[in-house]
Every structure is written in C-alpha cells, then in structure tokens.
Amino acid sequence: MIAKSTDAGRSFAKAQELARHEKFLDTGADARAQIIGDAHGRVMVAYAFFKDKHWNAQINLTTSVDFGEHFSTPKPLIKNGVSERFPSLGLDAQERLFVAWVDKRVVHQQRLKGVKQLGGSIALAYSADWGLSFKSEHIVNPQSCECCRIALDVSMPKTKVMAYRGLFSGGVRDHAVQVFSNEAHPLEPTKVADDRWQTDVCPHQGPSVAVSVNQTLHTVWFTQGEHRQGLFYAYSKDLGRHFSPPMALGDVHANESRPFVLAQDQHVWMVWKRFDGQHAKVMMRRSTNDGASWSTEQVLAQTAGYSDHPLLLKHRERVYLSWLTRIEGFQLLALN
C-alpha cells in the first residue's frame, strides 16, 4: 500500500494498493519496502516477496511519474533470479538511481558444485533512466549476511558508499563498508570494527551509513560480538580504510536497537530505539562538527505500544525523524 501526504505527514490521502502478495510479502524484522522520489514527480518503490516454497525471494519495482498518483505494474529487478531480498535505493545528484540488495546466486552456484556456502552476497546496480534499465549489475561482495538490511548513501558526488553486515572467515558477522564509483564499481570492502561476532544466527538488524560534506563516512551498527555488544558509532576520514574507535550508543545495560545516522553538511544526527519493558523511546545524539564531538542523548518521541524502526530523512535543508507507532500513528518530526 502507499499513501501520500502533502502537509509533511499531518494527513494522508486514501492509500492505494501497489501489489498484493498476502503473507508472502517480505515483512521480516529488517525488511521494509523502500521508496525514493525526486522533484520532477518521479517515485520508485522497491519491495521483496517470497516466490516459492524454499523462501527464495524476488525484488519488484514500481514507479510513478506523477508524484505518486499512479504507479506502474510492478516488475522484477532481476528476471528469473535465484533469490533477492533487502533492496536499498539511493538517488545521486546526477539522477542516477542506485539499488543494492542481498543476492543468492553465488550461494546457489556453489551449491551446484557441492560447496556449502553460508549467507548471501551483496549486489549493486544503477539506472540512468529511473529503472527502465539497469547498468553494471554485479556482485560487489560474494559473501555477506543474508538477513539484514543494507545501508546506502549516494548523495555526495565523490563518495558513494554502502554498509552491510558482512560474513567474514569463520562465520564472523561483523560490518563492512564499500565505497563505489558513479558507475557502481566498488573498492574492496573494509571492516568497520573488529567486533568478532562469530555466530550462525540471523541478527535481523543491519547498519546505517551517511557521508558528510567533508567525505567523512559515519556509520552505526548493532553487534553481539566477542569484543563488544550493543549499538556503536564510528567514522572514517579516508573512505573507509580506517575507522575511529567504536563509540557506544545508549546504555549498555538497556535494550537499545535500530540505530540510524544521517549527515547534512557538517551536522550529523544519530537516532535509535530504547525499550524499558513499557515504553519505546526514540533517542537522539547530534554532532555539529562532523562527528568530532556529540551532544548528550535526548528523547525525541515515545510510545506505549508497537512501534517500527526510527528513520531519518532529509528534504532540502530540513532533517526529519520518521517514526510509525500503532497508538500515535505516523510521525514526522523536524530536527532542525
């Protein structure tokens, strides 16, 4: 379903159906439909659904050219693919539309050779015509976690980056970043931190990444590693080759989850969710100097019922918290 607001989320027009997949829609703990739009009225929605009994998934795309009044019939990102989940969309200043996703083709090929490979792979492609065709579709990392969202920031002209939960030697599900070119050609992935979370679980909690005007990479993530547990933040001034020591977010003894980061010029915002058994709160810390120092934490919103992940988004110079709660409904709070 999709619903449109023209008053910054205070009210919405009647929702329209984009596709119907019933219980086969991929609505797992970290799987959400993605939406992106531009000033010309073009909107794209990407989502995944399970297409067979073996839980192989397909990513579908649907687009609008009239500010979301009408949408095209959904079509697959990959025709006859093995399995694709967790699409992530990004639009750069040249109106190239990037999409990253978790792809199972490598795992499948290995299985055919009798080699058992865990996890999935990270794939990337871009479109110069708003999804009519995709170029440079390829696997940028053949081994990754298969259960977590991918973070993508392509807003800076020189530094496009993705962050995801990798799958390193020995089954270590630590985080990686990969910087890539305007044509989606990536550098080698680098580790954000040596958390050493050697595990065979589905964490269902991917990272978030943002690039500031100084080309600083800011990233936040969740881990239950041997070296640290909880939510963490780190930055890199050299395109991910080195990261600052991880800085813990929130209270290590509390239930802290779903971190998200966004950069606007030299300002950086981090939000995450804290739960005390009765209330879920969205916490925030802010930096005005590109991550060199941070404000103390602050409660932005709270609810006593079910709530979704807190997200940050920007529109022109304004930065907003987007949060959906069952009791209060959709909330869009301006942060600057």
Binding site: T27, W55, P203, Q205, N255, S257
Partner: protein, 164 residues
Amino acid sequence: MKMMTQRTRSLILVFLLTFFAWTACLSQSVGMAPYVRGDWEKLVDKRGSGPLVVHFWGVSCGPCLTEMPQWGQFIAKESSRVLFVQVDDVSKDITANLVKKMRIDKASNYVVFSKFDEFLRFEIDSKWQGEIPYTVTIDKHGVQKAYAGNTNFKTLAAWFKKNI
C-alpha cells in the same frame, strides 16, 4: 436497536458454528497453537517440575532451517520437554508444512500471532533483539538461560540428563 429476526439469528449461529469448526479443524491438522504477548509465563508453567527447552525459529531464517532437522532427530527422545515457537508472519499452512518436513510435529508447536516485537521478547529476555535461532533452557530448579545460534545437541542431551 431493532430486534434481530429469527432468520438473522440462525444465519449468525450457522456462521459461528462453521467458523469454530473450521478453526478447530485447522489447528488440529497442523498441531500449532498461537503465541502472543503475555504468553511466556503460561508456556513456562508447562515445565512442571522438570526441565524445559523453548526454541524460537523462523521459516525465512536460513540458519534456522539448516538446523531444524537436527531438532527433529533430537525431539524423538525429548519431545515432551521441547517447545517450538515460529516467529515469522507467514501463512499457517507454510509453517505447518515445514513443521512436518523437519519432523518436529510430535512436539508442541506455537506460532507468533502478534508482532514479534520488543514487548513480546522483553518478557523472555529484556535484552533480546530478535536474533534467531534462539533457545531458552529452564532447568529443574527453574533457572532460565538463553543463547542465540545453533545448538550443540550433545551438550543439550547431557543437560537434560542432569535435569530430569
């Protein structure tokens, strides 16, 4: 409010009877019970005086599905002491088919009917973020422990032996 006619009342009664018969038939055929927020204590009460293991898994979780056949073999010996809770929001038939395929249908199986959210998880472990597979063990003294990831079934068998 207008009084309902006899015909309307009969229709409602037929509908309700059909509905209850259908749901009873469905749950009997798939052998699964709903699990919602607030159910943890009731589930733990099933322990009685012995040990109990509750295994949380999801049909779309690769590591879970890889391990489930081993749970199937394990519960052939310990079925009355292992409960399974499937957390993904999928159709009941899909879960039921997998439960049979993995041979855990002889055990007690539950499916999360409310959201698998922090409220539901907090009752079990205040810091659990939802990673699966996730297993909770409660020993004969009622001491509860939990771990995420695959199970060492030899260790679990020894634990049962010690706690019976």
